[in-house]
Subunit: 135 residues, 2 copies
Amino acid sequence: MSKNISEHLKKNGIKPSLQRTKIYEYLIENKNHPTVDQIYNDLVKDIPTLSKTTVYNTFNLFMEKNIITIITIEENETRYDADTTFHGHFKCDECGEVYDFDIDDIQINKDILKDFQINERHLYFKGKCKDCLKK
Amino acid sequence: MSKNISEHLKKNGIKPSLQRTKIYEYLIENKNHPTVDQIYNDLVKDIPTLSKTTVYNTFNLFMEKNIITIITIEENETRYDADTTFHGHFKCDECGEVYDFDIDDIQINKDILKDFQINERHLYFKGKCKDCLKK
DNA sequence: AATATTAATTGTAATCATTACAAATTTAAA
DNA sequence: TTTAAATTTGTAATGATTACAATTAATATT
């Protein structure tokens, strides 16, 4: 697994250091789109010398190399996604959990965006998840 | 015009003070979704005593009363929208302008969000606008 | 292998948007 | 008019992110 990650980073022009590999692996294994804080707090157990700056630097590098996308739902917390294909996110107001969902199709009125170049598309919903509704 | 705004605020349980009225009016007339800074800098010419805190307080109040929605495209700048009907936003990476566009339909795979309660839907694109592409 | 060069990581301080809070002002009620 | 309640304001605090310089690790050169 870790071998695959190294390869994937290399293929995208990223030298696979320990920190980079672990951070990318964490994102792959935790598909709930953790915040930088969560990632740092978990990974520092593994890599005691880890700095939060490194986490930020690494994500900025991953972004430049287009192997992750940014998820901006709340103003004050950035999350990241290792799945760069187009899909939607649902964030529960109650528990804070972020869920992925598939988008089949979006039909928009093209009049306004005619001759615009669209590079990124983001769709997210907010509300209450099934588990929180039960309570 | 200003009369209508007062009425609209009252109808939604908001006492229409000078500041609130001007801020709401500004949002109605500037459909490009200005940031708090832009709004403050423009309105302070009109209301010299205006405080940026008031702008923030007012938007938070408007949000509670559901007469505006928040637009979170970039992590570090919150924008607001007086049009609370569902529509999309396009932000140009080059000039920073935010455009509205109409959404006809969105089809998603409902499996994951079955039994979820969806309260808000947000769709935004990023790229280059027509004007910036010409250059 | 030893040294020089370059790249990556780290810690601390700075930045900047937003909020907390208490004082001052304005509005409404008695 | 006096009193109470609501609104606005300015300043300080917060918290996420970035700038930057120093340290450490990796790579290239002799």
